[in-house]
Symmetry: C2
Subunit: 127 residues, 2 copies
């Protein structure tokens, strides 16, 4: 399904969340598709089932998946999902911090815009 970077400083649960969001939003996983069970994905990734369960819990709270007791976990319909203003605000704060880092490095505004635009365009499938 995907792989983890155990050398990363990022939390394993966060990596699972990001990879799942990628698959869901990009359309690899369609609405109502079933995703691996907590125990199954934990087995694939060689991590503890509790860690996967934590990731699923957060993904469900954010509306990306939904669970049916005893049956499994499924992909939600992200198309009809309104943009969560709280998450958007958090994302904007992250971007502001990132841009500040470029500023602190002494990079010019024009150069910074080039760098950012390059990264945006890396997503050929976007929009």
């Amino acid at each position: 399904m995907f792989e983890l970077d155990m050398k990363s400083r990022k939390a394993i649960s966060d990596q699972i969340i990001e990879n799942m969001k990628e698959l869901i939003v990009s359309g690899v996983l369609k609405p109502d598709d079933r995703i691996p069970s907590v125990r199954e994905l934990a087995g694939q990734l060689l991590v503890n089932p509790n860690t996967v369960a934590k990731a699923y819990r957060i993904l469900e709270a954010q509306g990306y998946i939904f669970t049916v007791k005893g049956r499994g976990t499924f992909v939600a319909d992200t198309q009809s999902m309104p943009v969560d203003s709280r998450e958007l605000k958090e994302a904007e704060t992250h971007i502001r911090d990132s841009i500040n880092k470029l500023y602190y490095l002494g990079i010019s505004k024009e150069r910074a815009k080039e760098i950012i635009d390059k990264i945006v365009e890396e997503r050929g499938d976007w929009k």
Copy 2:
């Protein structure tokens, strides 16, 4: 000099580092200006001297300040400082993560560009 947000999830040492970079890069603190001693700043911010010392240690490693034993810590000349490619790469990764978050929220590329541009332009003094 500046204030800390004790309710923030950001580490105190990281907040000190960011605030110092802001003052140095924006030109409030000029090269060879002396910055408060470890004990003095710790007293102002009501944190432990070790925490300030850690922040200063990192700032020196990144080239923003330099220390003279027994005399104090001073602002380095960031103008003549070459852009550290390792730090630049880290910043780019950070930006990529942030932009992905916008993508996961289902925001269009055009909308994302507007949001980013607005944040960049918040820095009226840049370049």
